[in-house]
């Protein structure tokens, strides 16, 4: 009898041990009702393909997600896998919170954006989705301003002229949607002009801050002219509202505007085109969503398996279709018909190849604030562009 009990106990224990699953936690930002079910579906597919791994999903919001992640990592309770904005990677990496991310060459060559997660020659996160901004225009307003139905501005001179012409159509119509001060947004609107005028934030050897160069000042003067003379000034959402109501000729925006047009079933003659340049083409701003693994996680292998699954070309296409996203990190994914058959998505894909990303620096979030303040002073305060940028350069140099 004793033997039977012992055998049964051993069998039960063994089966328990065999069925013990590894649970990995994943914190992510996709909570929109149109996309959350797709995220859950992908997670479920992963669990079916890997019966020994279970994924615990936690939603974050853009309003306070960064703070939550920082607090979690600081208290040693960070998730195994976390979605990070490209600007945040260096600040977590420098403090030893992220595990180095190693991929084989085949995967590496298919994915774009590794440079944004490379800090001190080590890669700390895998690019999931990238994002850039393009120039959107209202075709009806361009036609009314005397342009034919193929026109899109390619140089800054053409762009300025078109903005002025649209702005002069009526008192209730504005040439350009200009951002009001809004954290993490205003500087992203200035930097495309900054880069397109030939300016750079730091010198190539990273020793000097070049924020107040002639190129940078000219870019801010140009941006300020559009803002002062023809600007519809509001927060990003307000600008997009006005644009979709036909009150604004040009706005710089991301792929979420396409999603909005689709979701709200707006009948709108939309032009999407590359950011103009002093010499065509100009440069836009590039960022992205990355997946990183917690350095103190004891389930790194399962975590990496999950990251690879999420970022597979097929799953990126699935996600992009649901979210109307334009820029998967996988080159293979961009070959899908969903992208190739849509001219607006093609604009984004082309623009991404003509986009710059901010320096990968743990202090970038602080520099970003300083740059944003300079733009704010020049556009809304008493500051002249040259003075505002000079002050910003001094502050950044003092911190380095």
């Amino acid at each position: 009898m004793k033997k039977i009990v012992l055998t049964v106990t051993l069998i039960v224990l063994q089966s328990q041990l065999l069925s013990a699953k590894t649970t990995i936690s994943w914190w992510q930002f996709w909570t929109d009702p149109t996309i959350k079910p797709v995220i859950e579906e992908i997670v479920s597919d992963f669990e079916n393909a890997n019966p020994d791994i279970e994924v615990e999903l936690t939603d974050l919001t853009w309003a306070n997600g960064h703070e939550k992640i920082v607090i979690a990592f600081a208290s040693g309770n960070g998730p195994d896998v976390v979605e990070l904005g490209s600007d945040w990677i260096a600040e977590f990496a420098v403090n030893g919170h992220l595990a180095e991310y190693k991929s084989d060459d085949a995967i590496k060559s298919d994915i774009q954006g590794w440079e944004m997660s490379t800090f001190q020659d080590k890669v700390y996160a895998k690019p999931w989705f990238l994002g850039t901004r393009v120039l959107f225009a209202n075709r009806d307003l361009l036609n009314r301003a005397g342009y034919d139905s193929t026109f899109a501005p390619v140089t800054f001179d053409q762009f300025r002229e078109a903005v002025y012409k649209v702005d002069s159509l009526s008192k209730k119509i504005y040439g350009f949607g200009s951002n009001a001060p809004e954290k993490h947004r205003l500087y992203k609107k200035y930097l495309p002009f900054f880069w397109s005028f030939g300016a750079q934030i730091f010198s190539d050897d990273n020793r000097l801050c070049l924020l107040a160069s002639d190129y940078a000042v000219n870019a801010l003067n140009y941006y300020k002219e559009l803002h002062d003379s023809c600007g519809f000034v509001a927060k990003q959402r307000g600008i997009e509202d006005a644009f979709l109501q036909g009150k604004v000729g040009f706005v710089i925006s991301g792929d979420w505007l396409l999603k909005r047009i689709d979701n709200e079933k707006l009948d709108f003659k939309l032009v999407s085109t590359l950011i103009p340049g002093k010499k065509y083409p100009g440069r836009s701003f590039m960022g992205g969503e990355f997946l990183a693994i917690n350095n103190s996680s004891d389930k790194k292998e399962a975590a990496q398996k999950f990251v690879e699954f999420l970022t597979s070309p097929a799953n990126q296409v699935k996600f992009c279709k649901a979210n109307r996203s334009a820029n998967p990190s996988s080159n293979k994914a961009t070959e899908d018909e969903y992208f190739t058959s849509n001219r607006h998505l093609q604009t984004f894909i082309k623009q991404l190849r003509l986009a710059n990303y901010p320096p990968v620096d743990p202090n970038w979030v602080i520099y970003e604030e300083i740059i944003e303040k300079a733009v704010e002073d020049a556009l809304f305060g008493d500051g002249q562009p040259a003075t505002a940028l000079f002050e910003a350069r001094k502050k950044i140099e003092a911190l380095r």
């Binding site: 703070e67 001060p181 000034v233 509001a234 604030e369 809304f380 305060g381």
Partner: protein, 289 residues
């Protein structure tokens, strides 16, 4: 007796534990952290003595926040208190639709601050109703609206705050008015005292404890102004206040806990001193009354 004490202690235990864990510990911890250079993400930190306090006193952003908080407190409390008192006197009278007015004045106080702030953000912007009204009345409206201009942003938020807060303090004044014995007014009338004399000799002195309460809680609330700033301007256009500064230093970009804790303790000392002075002044004034 001993058993009774043990039972009492046992019953109070949940409260005591909560107090120690969630109130006392963070208060002491943040005080200690104020003397370190602790940043949230960094795994190491050092004792820096009074460095955070010294830096704060020369930090332009902190001094601007301090100045704005002072403007906010001094600029809103008298208006809020006086308007609340006048409204309380008004709705204390018998007239048709009195209940509706009371409810109407009180309604903003029970509405979410975030909702109010979002509505006023639209009202204050160029083309918003307040901006249009101001234009009709001949005032100059800033090019991009009231909240996107340093000369008007803080005052606009203060005006909204007064509008929002008066209903709540009106209700407290109203409760105070109801508690004043009617015999005092009847005697005063017999003695020939007019309405003004009755107000200054009976109403105001009798409302002294209520006024003190309102002044103290209104001051503390005004010193801690945050949500309005966060929603409407994010501290831009010269609207950053002390609590917003603490939030920015400790919980956003820099996650500089040590610095933010030191700033929080400076705010604590200011609020404590301000409340103490208010108590003293009103006590003296009360004795004079």
């Amino acid at each position: 007796m001993k058993q009774k004490k043990t039972t009492a202690l046992f019953l109070a235990l949940p409260w005591i534990v909560t107090l120690l864990l969630f109130w006392l510990y963070p208060i002491i911890y943040s005080f200690v952290v104020g003397f370190t250079n602790k940043r949230l993400l960094s795994k190491t930190y050092e004792w820096v003595g009074f460095d955070n306090y010294k830096t704060l006193l020369t930090d332009e952003a902190f001094l601007v926040a301090l100045k704005n908080t002072a403007i906010f407190v001094i600029g809103t409390i008298p208006f809020t208190t006086i308007i609340a008192l006048l409204l309380a006197l008004l709705v204390n009278k018998q007239f048709k639709g009195r209940g509706l007015f009371r409810a109407g004045f009180f309604l903003p106080s029970i509405t979410s601050m975030v909702v109010i702030a979002l509505i006023f953000t639209n009202l204050f912007q160029r083309g918003g109703y307040i901006a249009l009204l101001a234009e009709m009345l001949g005032f100059t409206v800033p090019q991009h609206g009231f909240l996107l201009d340093s000369s008007t942003a803080l005052f606009s938020i203060m005006a909204m705050d007064v509008w929002m807060a008066v209903g709540y303090y009106m209700l407290i004044f109203l409760a105070g008015l109801k508690a004043i014995p009617q015999e005092l007014y009847e005697s005063a009338k017999i003695e020939g005292a007019g309405v003004v004399r009755q107000f200054f000799s009976i109403t105001l002195p009798m409302l002294k404890p209520v006024a003190l309460f309102i002044l103290v809680i209104n001051s503390i609330k005004s010193f801690q102004v945050f949500v309005e700033i966060f929603v409407m301007t994010q501290g831009k256009f010269e609207t950053s206040t002390m609590v917003y500064f603490i939030y920015e230093a400790g919980l956003t970009t820099k996650f500089n806990f040590g610095y933010a804790s030191a700033a929080a303790y400076i705010l604590f000392v200011i609020v404590a001193l301000f409340s103490f002075v208010q108590f003293k002044l009103l006590k003296q004034r009360g004795e004079a009354w």
